[in-house]
Symmetry: C2
Subunit: 229 residues, 2 copies
DNA sequence: CGCTGTCTTGAAGCGTTTCAACACAAGTGG
DNA sequence: CCACTTGTGTTGAAACGCTTCAAGACAGCG
C-alpha cells in the first residue's frame, strides 16, 4: 500500500484518478491529460468541502479519508445521503445542473481530495464521449439506487429497512459485517432515531436473526429470515 | 394543436422528438437521422409498456397519453414513482445499466410512444456528444429530485409532504391547482394511504390553508402558512 | 342506468418518536 | 497516562401520528 501523503502531487493525482470507474478505461495519454488539470486539497476532520447554496465549480474525487454527504429537509432536519470512500466522487450533480449545491459535504476524518474544474471536465466530455457514457452509467445506478431507497421509505417499516440495510452491507458468502458508520448516522441514513436503531437491533438479536459483537460488528445468523420481515 | 393520431408516422415522430429536451437542440439534419431510427407503438388504457425484470432495449418517448411508473418494494408494496406526459421519456435507466427494468410502466389512458433502440441511441451519443451532456443534465435533475424526495420521506411527516407537494403543483403566481393524479395514486406517491390523504386535506381546509373544489381542484388560501408546517 | 372503483369518516390498534436518565467510548489536555 | 470532556449508545415510559378495517357516499365508465 501507498502512503498518499508522501507522494508527489502528480503521483497522487494519478493514484487517485485511476481509482475512479469513470476514468479508468482511458488510455495512458488521455489519463495524463486529465491528471494535469486536477488539483488536490486537504480537509481536517469536521471541515466542510461544500455547503448547500454554494456555487459549484468542481468535481471532487476522494483520494484519502472519508466524506459524508447530507441534506437538510425543508423543515431543517438532517438526513445522511451517502458516505464517500477513496475512489468515490461528488459534486457532479451541481456541475450539470444549476451549478448550486443542494447538499452538504463534510470530511468525517482527515481527508484528501483531488478536484477537476467544471470547464476542464466539460472539455473532456466533448473530446472523449466515452467518459460521458461512463458517467451516464454511474448516474443510472445512482438513480436506481435512490428510487429504490425512496420506495423503501415510502412502503417499509423501520425494522425492514434495517434488515435490508444489513443484508446489503454483507459481502457475498460472508456471515459477519462491520457497520460503515455510527448508529447515530445510520439512524439519519435510514430516516429514524438512534433509539429505534438500538431497540430494533436488540429485537433482531432476541429473535435470533443476528448477533451484535461490539459497537460496529454484527454476525448474521439467519439471512433468509431477516429478509422475510 | 395537432391531433397526433391523424399524422403520418414520420410527422408523428418528428412532432414527438422535437418535444424532448434531450434532442431539441439538434440541427434539422441530425434530428431527421434520429427520427428515422424511431418506431412508434400504441397502448390501451391499462396496458403495460414494460415490467420489472424484463430486458430493456429501448428509450420510450411519450407522444400522446399518460404513463405511470411504479415500483414494488421488497415486501411487495407498490409505490408510484412518476407520471409521464407527452414529451417525457422513460426506459433510460436500464439502457445505461444492467439492461433490466426495475420498475413498471403502465398506460393510464390510451397512449402512443415512440421508441429509440438502445444500439441506435448509443451510436448517436458517441457521434453527437452534446446529446450526452443533455442527458447528463436531465439525469442530474432527476437525481436531485429523487434525493430530495428521499430526504422528505426520511424526515417529514405526512402532512408536510402533502403541503410541499401542493406547493410544487402550484404554478407560479397562480392560486389554484389541479391534482395531476387520483388521491389514491397521490397516496401511493407520497407513501401514505388514501384515508390519510383525505383526512389531512380536510385538516388543512379546516385550518384555512386550502379550499377543496371538487375531487381534483384545490385553491391555496395561505401558501406561506402551508410551507411553515 | 348499473357496476366498479375511488373517496370519505369513524374507531381501534400499532409502530415510532420523544424525553429523560444513565452507561459507555473516544478524543483532549494537563 | 490518566482524568476530563464530549459525544455516542442504551433503556424505559408516555405520547403521538399513522394505518387498518369496516361501512357508506360518490364519481366515472361501459
Amino acid at each position: 500500500m501507498h502512503d498518499y501523503a508522501q507522494c508527489h502531487t502528480h503521483d497522487n493525482h494519478k493514484q487517485c484518478i485511476t481509482l475512479v470507474p469513470i476514468f479508468n478505461h482511458l488510455e495512458n495519454e488521455q489519463m495524463n491529460e486529465v491528471m494535469t488539470t486536477a488539483r488536490s486539497s486537504s480537509y481536517k476532520r469536521g471541515e466542510m468541502i461544500y455547503k448547500a447554496g454554494e456555487q459549484s465549480d468542481s468535481l471532487y474525487i476522494v483520494s484519502k479519508g472519508k466524506i459524508k454527504i447530507y441534506r437538510l429537509s425543508e423543515s431543517g432536519k438532517e438526513q445522511l445521503v451517502r458516505i464517500l470512500n477513496p475512489g468515490d466522487f461528488t459534486g457532479e450533480l451541481a456541475l450539470f445542473n444549476e451549478g448550486v449545491h443542494e447538499s452538504y459535504a463534510e470530511a468525517i476524518i482527515d481527508t484528501q481530495v483531488c478536484m477537476i474544474r467544471r470547464s476542464d471536465l466539460q472539455e473532456f466530455l466533448l473530446k472523449y464521449p466515452s467518459i460521458s457514457l461512463k458517467i451516464l452509467s454511474e448516474f443510472s445506478s445512482r438513480l436506481e439506487q435512490s428510487e429504490k431507497q425512496t420506495t423503501r421509505f415510502a412502503t417499509e417499516k423501520v425494522e425492514t429497512r434495517i434488515a435490508l440495510f444489513l443484508a446489503e452491507c454483507l459481502e457475498r458468502d460472508s456471515t459477519e459485517l462491520t457497520l460503515p458508520m455510527s448508529k447515530k448516522d445510520l439512524a439519519s441514513y435510514l430516516g429514524t432515531t438512534p433509539e429505534t436503531i438500538s431497540r430494533k437491533l436488540g429485537d433482531l438479536e432476541v429473535a435470533g436473526y443476528i448477533k451484535q459483537k461490539g459497537q460496529r460488528n454484527i454476525e448474521i445468523m439467519d439471512l433468509d429470515g431477516l429478509l422475510l420481515l
